[in-house]
Amino acid sequence: MNRTWKKAIGITAVAVMGLTGLAACGNSGSDNSEGRVYFLNFKPEAADQWKALAEKYTKEKGVKVEVQTAASGTYEQTLKSEMAKSNAPTIFQVNGPVGLATWKDYTADMSDTEMYKQLKNQDIALKDDSKVVGIPYVMETYGIIYNKDIVDKYTKLPDAKVKSAEEIDSYDKLKAVADDMQKHAKELGIEGAFTSAGFDSSSDWRFKTHLANIPLYYEFKADNITEQPETIKGTYLKNFKNIFDMYITDSTTDRTALSSKTGDDANSEFALGKAAFYQNGTWAWSDLQKAGMNADQLGMLPIYAGVDDATEGLATGSENYLCINAKASEADQKASKDFLNWVITSDTGIKALSEDMGFTTPFKTFDKVTSENPLVTAAVEDSNSGKTQVTWNFTMMPSEEWKNQLGQAMLAYAQGTGDWDAVEKAFVDNWKTEYDASH
């Protein structure tokens, strides 16, 4: 082989190496005119079901649909890095008005979509002035889930405070029952009235977000507040403390061990009958079912705050708003809208959402669907009973940071390394701080 050959081969080899390296950085997305759908899903409990549904859509329509799910508690983080890529998500979720503020520039008008048209109540859609930008696709309800078997067993005790679960209709009753159950834990075969109030990130949202919604709800109701206020007063923090105290004293777990308890811990304690009460929502059913519980074992109580217990219902709302990425190409946006339309109108889509994922949706197309989820049944019964549904005001909480600081203060209070004043501060003073930081 002569020298020129060697040189030529050398140069080609180097060029090929360089080019393949560069090609990997380039746009590897398909350029077909059909468009591309990439949905970044917020709900880890429905990750597999979404993937399956996307595959069915691809089989039926030939359009490629990619579904990625962010790990619990990392949605904003994942979305931020995904959005910066050339293959950005075409469908993404925001959690309400506060989440929308971050992603406003990325939201497309959805008023022409079937999803918007099929909403039973179009007022619940998320709007940026008059532009429809987010459609809630799951309505969820949370409260205190209870194990009917254990409560029945308790009511049969000679000195039981109530004779049936229906009699638990106020904070005082609930507290009396929980305290008494804790006392009779051995006879009932439980370890505590409530599951562990874990502050691992897989569980702390139950308190820093969902439980904290209760005092916010009553305050906003009393002051007629409907939009995110600049400051709050913390009028009902006393009630908040009462409930939280009950969670951590009548519990399966020592308060000093709460910091590392996970959502799975609470779930399995409840499913294995070690606790009678479990604050969580309709979405918990699939996990409880997997852990071996039956539908007829479960009921749900409102989180009685001791303010207006007679009319307090379960907490119902949505923090799952679907948005279309306005910065995606026209074809991609169109493909995404088509996919979403199919999801809520086709039989396959309806079945997947209602049965496989167990969601309650706000769409007319789902009217004929009945749910197997006993928690959804409880929620429907509750809303038909004439009680006032507690709304989801936590979507107005000023930032994730606010929630995190509240959660950490609650944990410090629970394990005895901090005091309640710090919680009040994190709740009231920090609201203003975080509001200012984002406005």
Binding site: V14, M17, K80, M83, T102, A257, S259, S260, L411
Partner: protein, 284 residues
């Protein structure tokens, strides 16, 4: 003497350097420069940024949590650098003596280093929580627990690696100097401090450089072990930066500014440390 290969390399070096150089530019220089630029911007995703000047830096310096994490990282670095280097040196010294099965011991000490930080973090989380469960506590109960937990983890992981470097250094110690020392009647302590340690300074430079920078850059282990809980009191610098960038809306630029400050800090500390230890190096 210049061989054929040497000639070819002189003529063609640029071509052979090119692939790595391109990779270095794409993977390091560009992101770095872009990162510095972003630290002066307000942005949500890195692709659309608006220039805002030094306000991000002002916010970063005023953040008490950032300052606390600086303190936390500094303490952690000091403690781990001392413990790791002392123990690694001692273990290396032991294993260069004729001990039966010293190869097996070397492998055993080195193995933890092959496990990724996240996995190590979770393993130690389980272990330490299991122990603390006796007192109904857990690792995130108090920042002190998290701190010492991290110290244990980091030492366990890095001692083996530093040990290998020290062993290599010890094996190349000139034996004539050691013999001369013993002939002259130096006792074992004098041999250690007057002969071995001065001759080992190059290895000590390398190891202390690695442990100092690793201490500041610690991320995976921090994330897996405590994730900064409780109250962000066990949050190191690297973790604080990611949390600022990702977890707070509107604080992306501040996170970026912190990252630039972090880079300057680590660079300065590493250079100082390098200067300090190299100045102690001697020739045999």
């Amino acid at each position: 003497m210049i061989s054929m290969a040497g000639k070819a390399i002189r003529k063609w070096w640029a071509l052979f350097v090119l692939p790595t150089f391109v990779a270095f530019i794409i993977g390091f220089i560009v992101p770095f420069v872009y990162g510095v630029y972003l630290s002066f911007c307000k942005f949500t995703t890195v692709t659309d940024a608006k220039f805002v000047g030094f306000s991000n830096y002002a916010k970063a310096i005023k953040d008490p949590v950032f300052l606390h994490s600086l303190l936390f990282s500094t303490l952690l670095t000091i403690v781990t650098t001392i413990i790791i280097n002392v123990i690694a040196f001692a273990v290396a010294y032991m294993l260069t003596k004729a001990i039966k099965g010293s190869n097996v011991f070397r492998s055993v000490f080195f193995l933890p280093n092959l496990i990724g930080g996240i996995i190590l973090g979770y393993i130690w989380l389980l272990l330490l929580n299991g122990v603390l469960a006796h007192w109904s506590k857990s690792l995130t109960f108090d920042a002190k627990y998290g701190f010492w937990g991290l110290v244990i983890l980091v030492c366990w992981q890095q001692i083996g690696y530093m040990m290998i470097i020290y062993i290599a250094g010890m094996q190349s110690l000139p034996t004539d100097v050691l013999e001369a020392a013993s002939v002259d009647g130096a006792n074992s302590r004098q041999t250690m401090f007057r002969v071995i340690i001065p001759l080992m300074m190059p290895s000590i430079t390398v190891c202390s450089f690695l442990t100092v920078t690793n201490g500041f850059k610690l991320y995976d282990q921090n994330l897996a072990l405590t994730a900064g809980n409780p109250m962000k009191m066990s949050e190191g610098l690297a973790l604080n930066i990611t949390n600022t960038f990702y977890a707070r809306t509107g604080f992306e630029g501040v996170g970026q500014a912190k990252a630039v400050l972090f880079f300057i800090l680590v660079a300065v500390v590493a250079l100082l440390q390098n200067k300090l230890t190299t100045s102690k190096e001697v020739a045999a």
